[in-house]
């Protein structure tokens, strides 16, 4: 499921625990011309990227180091994030870790696509600065990807919105 990406293609990092959903999202994104990196847990996110670049597996505690390496090696244009993930850490933990490293990583838009509708969870994501929050079952896959595509080719600046 790891793809080689070129500069013209936009790359989406998809983090989703349900295998069938992960596969269908991956397939649709490729069909639409994106490059895709997939992961089912927070650890896997960082290891997937490092592994791909021949840097071996790294424990979750060394996230900062991983990101420092990756800054120059991998370019992710957007992140598709589910809230419930395999392992102890969920989407919110990922966003916190991700944003804590600052720099280039802070500018990558994060789209949370989850089936959780808890307003506390949504508020936390909004406060952390994600671009948009979708309730999975209420949207067509095509519509979500169109949205992501539009926001990667922005015409106007957007505010964080819950959908």
């Amino acid at each position: 499921m790891k793809k080689i990406q070129t500069k013209e293609k936009k790359t989406i990092l998809v983090i989703e625990d349900e295998r069938p959903l992960l596969e269908i999202v991956n397939e649709k994104l490729i069909e639409k011309g994106f490059g895709v990196i997939t992961a089912r847990s927070v650890d896997q996110v960082f290891n997937a990227m490092l592994d791909k670049n021949g840097l071996g597996v790294i424990a979750a505690t060394n996230i900062k180091q991983a990101l420092d390496y990756l800054e120059n090696l991998e370019q992710v244009d957007a992140i598709w994030l589910d809230h419930n993930l395999i392992g102890k850490e969920n989407g919110i933990d990922f966003v916190k870790k991700f944003k804590a490293n600052g720099g280039l990583w802070n500018k990558i838009p994060i789209f949370v696509i989850s089936n959780t509708e808890s307003s506390e969870t949504i508020k936390s994501y909004v406060n952390l600065g994600v671009s948009k929050y979708y309730v999975k079952s209420n949207h067509k896959l095509d519509a979500i990807i169109k949205d992501i595509n539009n926001s990667l080719n922005p015409k106007t600046k957007r505010k964080t919105v819950r959908v």
Binding site: E18, E31, S137, K140, L141, D142
Partner: protein, 565 residues
């Protein structure tokens, strides 16, 4: 020699002579004409010469006249010049006379003023003399009356001396009586003092009992004065806040109670429940949408349920009483409920999402071309799955309403804007059914309510109206304000209506009327139940009309402009 002497002249010469003669004749005639013309011309010239002569004479005359006129004018001009000089001299003389007169007038005015002043002074002096004369007369009179008074007073003094002698005797006897009374009073005072001590003791005991009761109730209790200084704190409060009574008495409440919100941010002083109570409002955390925590010394914290009541005397706030307790347990239960609902929603929705997206992909045609029947069947699968998703969403809303975990976040809403946006969303349905649609908004104030909930109410009722009306039917919405406290939202259609004998079940869970089920329309049967709960929780009302006389249905919702706190 006679006739033969006639010279024979050849014919052509005769002819030539004739011609010559004719020519001479014509020349002669011409000359005559010319002579005539010349004569005429001479006459004309004579006339012209005459005329010129007369004109010349006239000109001479005129010239002479002009000369004469010029001389006259010169004379007249000289006369005017002379007159003008004389007038100038006269004017100068007049001017100097006028100035002399002005000066004289000025001098006269000054003199007049001086005279006036002198007259005034004389008048003042005269008046003063009159007053002085009067005063002298009065003084003489007064002296006389004073003299008479002194004589009278002397007589009185003599009388008084005699009276005093008598009074002295009386006083002595009174003094003896008073001595006796003093003794009696002393005894009564001692009795009273004993009684006061007894009464104070019993009051103190009663107060101690009351205090003991207050101090030992299970909830934390703090009382403050009108400035917010603590005047009473019970044991439970001491324990919960980890403070000792002697350290907090007399201190401002905000130094003792450290409140913070969900995210650890301290509650600002103005929003502290005690501050608000000092302004005269009864505050209870049940009505506040945020959870308040107290931070302990060890940085751990617990959620509080707080109720603060102002104590008033007449209209003035003289203090507050704050009752609070640790609701960690209740909070955990609430958390558990919310997590259950959240988990349930996630578990139910995940497989539904899978079916939905995979079907979507198949219908997209990129996985392989589909024939007509395959497309139709897949669409049925997609629709069926969509109905399940709607049902799950509705059930989750219902369970949150019943568990009381429905989040309510009131904001200022422009309800007309909100309705317009819902109408826009329903656009495709309105157009595909060619519904004749109208929206009649009246001016309404901004209302204070949760926009998500108001949107849900509007969307539900409007989509019902569109769903349950035939193609090319009519749907209209109106919004207006009633009695300054509420807004009225109305949706009416000329659709299928609601059967009389089923109207009482319309707001119950999962109920769908027979007539709409027959018409093959979709619906969870939960929409109106949810809307009714939400409307009534917000302090509003919902009802409808559907009669045989007037076809279709009319739904009415009233919402308060201010959310009731």
């Amino acid at each position: 020699m006679n006739k033969q002497s006639i010279i024979s002249i050849p014919d052509d010469t005769i002819f030539k002579l004739k011609i010559l003669a004719e020519e001479k004749e014509s020349v002669r005639r011409k000359l005559v004409v010319t002579a005539e013309k010349l004569r005429l011309k001479a006459k004309q010239l004579a006339v012209t010469a005459e005329e010129k002569e007369s004109v010349r004479r006239k000109l001479v005359i005129t010239a002479e006249k002009l000369v004469a006129t010029a001389k006259e004018k010169e004379r007249v001009r000289r006369k005017f010049a002379t007159t003008a000089k004389q007038l100038t001299i006269t004017a100068r003389e007049k001017e100097s006379v006028r100035r002399k007169l002005a000066i004289t007038a000025e001098q006269l005015r000054i003199k007049a003023k001086q005279l006036a002043v002198t007259a005034e002074e004389k008048e003042n002096v005269r008046r003063k003399l009159v007053i002085t004369a009067e005063k002298l007369v009065m003084t003489a009179k007064e002296k006389e009356s004073v003299r008479r008074e002194l004589v009278g007073t002397a007589k009185k003094l003599r009388l008084k001396a005699m009276q005093l002698a008598e009074t002295a005797k009386e006083k002595e006897s009174v003094r003896r009586k008073l001595a006796i009374t003093a003794g009696k009073l002393k005894k009564s005072r001692e009795t009273l003092e004993r009684k006061v001590i007894e009464r104070t003791k019993s009051l103190e005991m009663a107060r101690a009992k009351e205090e003991a009761i207050l101090l030992s109730i299970g909830d934390g209790l703090i009382a403050t004065d009108e400035k917010g200084k603590i005047i009473l704190i019970n044991k439970t409060a001491e324990k919960l806040l980890e403070k000792e009574s002697k350290n907090v008495m007399g201190k401002i409440f905000s130094e003792t109670i450290h409140l913070e919100d969900e995210y650890g941010i301290p509650i600002p002083l103005a929003k502290h429940p005690v501050s608000m109570a000092l302004l005269g409002n009864k505050i209870s955390t049940k009505n506040v949408s945020e959870i308040i925590y107290h931070a302990r010394k060890d940085k751990s914290r617990f959620p509080l349920s707080i109720m603060v009541t102002p104590v008033t005397l007449g209209k003035k706030v003289i203090g507050t009483i704050k009752v609070f307790r640790d609701i960690t347990n209740e909070h955990q239960i609430d958390r558990a409920k919310t997590e259950f609902v959240s988990l349930a929603s996630h578990q139910l929705r995940t497989p539904l999402s899978t079916v939905s997206w995979y079907t979507e992909m198949l219908l997209g045609g990129k996985i392989g071309e589909l024939n007509e029947k395959q497309t139709k069947y897949l669409n049925e699968v997609y629709q069926g799955n969509q109905r399940m998703i709607d049902l799950v969403n509705a059930l989750l809303d219902v369970s949150r309403l019943e568990l009381g975990t429905f989040p309510i976040e009131p904001k200022q809403i422009n309800i007309i804007k909100l309705i317009k946006s819902v109408i826009h969303e329903q656009g495709p349905q309105i157009n595909s059914k060619k519904i004749a649609f109208s929206f009649l908004p009246e001016k309404v104030p901004i209302i204070n309510a949760d926009p998500k909930l108001v949107r849900m109410i509007v969307q539900n009722i409007l989509s019902n109206s569109i769903k349950y009306t035939q193609a090319e039917g009519q749907v209209s919405i109106s919004i207006s304000s009633v009695d300054k406290k509420n807004v009225l939202f109305k949706v009416s259609d000329n659709g299928y209506g609601i059967p009389r004998n089923q109207q009482d079940k319309i707001f119950t869970k999962l109920f769908r009327a027979d007539n709409v089920r027959e018409k093959d329309t979709d619906g969870t049967g939960l929409g109106l139940y949810i809307v009714k709960s939400v409307v009534e929780n917000s302090g509003g009302k919902i009802w409808f009309e559907s009669t045989k006389e007037e076809l279709g249905t009319r739904f009415f919702v009233t919402l308060p402009i201010k959310k009731i706190l």
